[in-house]
């Protein structure tokens, strides 16, 4: 069963990619085929967000429940993998912005906030690089990860005030309704499930790999 799951994930992702191009209709008001980026960009961003949140939960667990290095490892890997997802979300967003807004980068509030999130977790990773001792590194990095969860929500209030956003409504729009063609919504949710599963699969592999490497380093 366990060896079957990754194969199931590959098939799932292949079907999602096929459906993104051939099953889902195009959204109105977008240039050419550009609305199809939705099925790649949005799940990547959501998954990165879930990853960072999971990192904060693991950090809190490390600090307040038992100080197990396993939790610290899980938090660190979640940030690393989440960072890759976040970069991919930024790149796919920029490609789409080139088509729709005419430039890869134009400091739309969404672009501003994603770059701030990237800077914050980049700082987290450089903090981990600057402390050698395992226990101390775990402690300091966990505090910083929790600080991120406290500080970054401020951007949600502040950044939209600086300029207006041209970014399309999120899936749940400002009126609190899901405003999307049902086939598009199916593909989007399937893509999100696939991305999240991919994230946690990579996360699991990385954690086990690192546990093995650390076990070998310590006689």
């Amino acid at each position: 069963m366990k060896t079957l799951l990754p194969w199931l994930l590959w098939v799932w992702m292949a079907v999602v990619i096929w459906a993104a191009f051939f099953y889902s209709p195009l959204a109105a008001g977008f240039i050419g085929q550009s609305s199809r980026v939705l099925f790649f960009h949005v799940p990547l961003a959501w998954t990165a967000f879930v990853g960072f949140l999971a990192a904060a939960v693991w950090s809190a667990r490390y600090l307040f429940f038992g100080r197990r290095l396993r939790d610290d490892r899980a938090a660190a890997v979640a940030v690393e993998v989440g960072f890759v997802f976040c970069v991919l979300a930024t790149v796919t967003g920029a490609l789409w912005a080139r088509i729709m807004w005419g430039a890869y980068w134009n400091w739309d509030p969404r672009q501003t906030s994603i770059i701030l999130v990237l800077i914050f977790y980049g700082a987290y990773l450089s903090l981990r690089g600057a402390v050698e001792d395992g226990e101390k590194r775990a402690r300091l990095a966990a505090v910083y990860a929790l600080l991120g969860v406290v500080v970054t929500p401020f951007f949600f209030f502040i950044v939209p005030r600086i300029t207006y956003s041209l970014h399309p409504d999120s899936v749940i729009n400002s009126r609190g309704e899901v405003d999307m063609e049902s086939r598009m919504l199916q593909v989007l949710l399937a893509a999100f499930a696939g991305n999240a599963a991919l994230f946690f699969w990579i996360h699991n592999l990385q954690c086990r790999l690192r546990a093995l490497a650390e076990g070998k380093a310590r006689p």
């Binding site: 600090l63 450089s126 600057a130 050698e132 402690r139 300091l140 910083y144 600080l147 500080v151 600086i162």
Partner: protein
């Protein structure tokens, strides 16, 4: 209960007094902060030229420059309060002598007095040298006070973190700026409002919320950072 509280306050006060006494022995932080801020101020004023900028452009650009000067001057001097304890190996004695929350408050009070002294020096000089007129001085002073508080509170927690890491001076900037960025955006917006004489609006509430959040969070997590 009262005894406990007064003990706690005495500890915080003792840390505050100790830091200032150490500071007056070398005047390292004071000199660094004041000279750094003054040099940057001269650079800004000189590069703007004798005519400065137009009033309309100045009202939007100059608040940014003022806060950048304060931020970088703070980053040059504020981390010292904890880095110094690790360098002179006094951190262990301090761990024995004071409860973490009292220590945090004492260090915060020290950082805050440093930032406020810096602002007292820099802000009037800045206004004079770039000839910026402030329409609502009350809001301007309030923003300097509350913004300085946020700067000190954020820096104190980050300073405690980086004091235990390698490459401290560069690491402080890397770690502190993402945390201080919301503060910076808010104070720049509010300073612009003060210069233009516009009402403070929601940004002032958010600034106070930021100050409170960072302080409470610092108090909660500082014991974890401090005690190995």
């Amino acid at each position: 209960m009262w005894r406990l509280a007064s003990n706690w306050a005495a500890e915080a006060l003792a840390v505050f007094a100790k830091d200032w006494r150490c500071e007056f022995r070398t005047r390292y932080a004071l000199n660094t902060l004041a000279l750094f801020a003054f040099t940057t101020l001269v650079v800004v004023s000189a590069s703007l030229g004798p005519l400065g900028t137009s009033a309309a452009r100045g009202a939007s650009v100059l608040p940014v420059l003022l806060w950048l000067i304060l931020l970088f001057a703070g980053a040059a001097g504020l981390p010292r309060s904890f880095v110094h304890e690790e360098e002179t190996h006094t951190a262990t004695a301090l761990r024995l002598a004071a409860t973490p929350s009292a220590l945090f408050c004492g260090k915060l009070a020290y950082g805050l007095s440093l930032v406020w002294a810096l602002e007292l020096l820099v802000a009037p000089l800045f206004l004079a040298m770039v000839s910026l007129a402030v329409r609502s001085p009350g809001l301007f002073v309030l923003v300097l006070a509350a913004g300085g508080f946020g700067l000190a509170a954020g820096s104190t927690l980050i300073a405690a973190i980086i004091a235990q890491a390698q490459g401290r001076s560069t690491l402080f900037a890397v770690l502190a700026f993402p945390v201080l960025l919301p503060l910076l955006i808010l104070v720049v917006e509010l300073t612009r409002n003060a210069v233009a004489g516009a009402p403070a609006g929601m940004a002032l509430h958010q600034l106070l919320l930021y100050d409170g959040t960072v302080t409470i969070f610092g108090l909660m997590l500082f014991p974890v950072v401090w005690n190995p």
